[in-house]
């Protein structure tokens, strides 16, 4: 991994944020499916319909698994929340990391 906040780090950071957002979105699909909400979201959320459609197959598979193990949905939430937190931590690391090997004193004004 890069030591400084160069372009590679920035791209990596961006990818991590996208991944974290994806994990959160996945976690949101579950209650949507479980609550039996319509497959086409209302008005302003229409734009997300495509995304939702893409996730639908996965949701159906999850619901099938949930019928055999009651706790399955909770474990799915747990996994995705965990993955999102790891992604978040990696992103935070790239934002907050500090070069501490050398201290240069600020010159007086």
């Amino acid at each position: 991994m890069p030591d400084d906040k160069g372009p590679v780090a920035k791209i990596f950071c961006l990818l991590t944020v996208v991944f974290a957002a994806g994990c959160l979105l996945m976690a949101l699909f579950m209650p949507w499916a479980e609550l039996g909400l319509p497959a086409t979201p209302p008005g302003p959320l229409q734009a997300l319909a495509g995304l939702y459609g893409g996730g639908q197959g996965l949701i159906q598979a999850m619901v099938r698994a949930a019928q055999t193990d009651k706790n399955f949905p909770f474990y799915v939430y747990s996994s995705f929340l965990g993955l999102a937190m790891i992604a978040g931590a990696i992103a935070l690391n790239f934002v907050g990391r500090e070069e501490t090997e050398k201290t240069v004193l600020p010159t007086k004004k």
């Binding site: 501490t100 090997e101 050398k102 201290t103 240069v104 007086k108």
Partner: protein
């Protein structure tokens, strides 16, 4: 490395930080860089800003402060304390008259000797660009500010 118009570089180093034992000669100078001499402390937290000032006033062209990696300190907080002191974030700090460009802090673990030598080399090169220190060519009567420096430390 030390040429005629450039003074020595003093390294104040924690003995648990970079292991320079095999790299110094009997005069306390680095074998690779004869212009750089080394003074060891039990912990970098023991280094007084007054010592940095004393070195520069006595004609050193620069001072390297070297402690363990920030976050790790055998005695818990010494490296953070001297770092904050030279940055002016923790009393006692450096006097205003100290040339900030001539002081640098490195925070390295015991095995990082090569890293230290390259960092020190960079610093020495920077000092050579700066030229001789003003303090080395003494202005008339560079008297220490009253009360700042008791006489005990004045006699070499």
């Amino acid at each position: 490395m030390a040429d005629a118009n450039n003074g020595k570089v003093i390294t104040l180093v924690c003995e648990r930080s970079v292991d320079l034992q095999d790299r110094i000669d009997e005069n306390g100078c680095l074998k690779e860089m004869p212009g750089v001499s080394v003074v060891k402390f039990p912990c970098s937290g023991m280094i007084q800003p007054l010592m940095v000032e004393a070195a520069l006033k006595a004609g050193a062209s620069g001072v390297i402060i070297c402690g363990c990696q920030i976050g790790d300190c055998y005695y818990r907080e010494g490296n953070k304390m001297i770092r904050d002191r030279i940055l002016g974030e923790r009393p006692p700090g450096l006097k205003k008259t100290v040339d900030r460009r001539r002081v640098v802090g490195f925070w390295l673990a015991k095995p990082q000797v090569a890293r230290f030598l390259s960092r020190a080399g960079e610093f020495v090169a920077q000092l050579q660009q700066l030229g001789p220190a003003e303090t080395a060519a003494p202005k008339p009567a560079p008297k220490p500010a009253a009360g700042e420096k008791p006489p005990a430390a004045e006699s070499p």
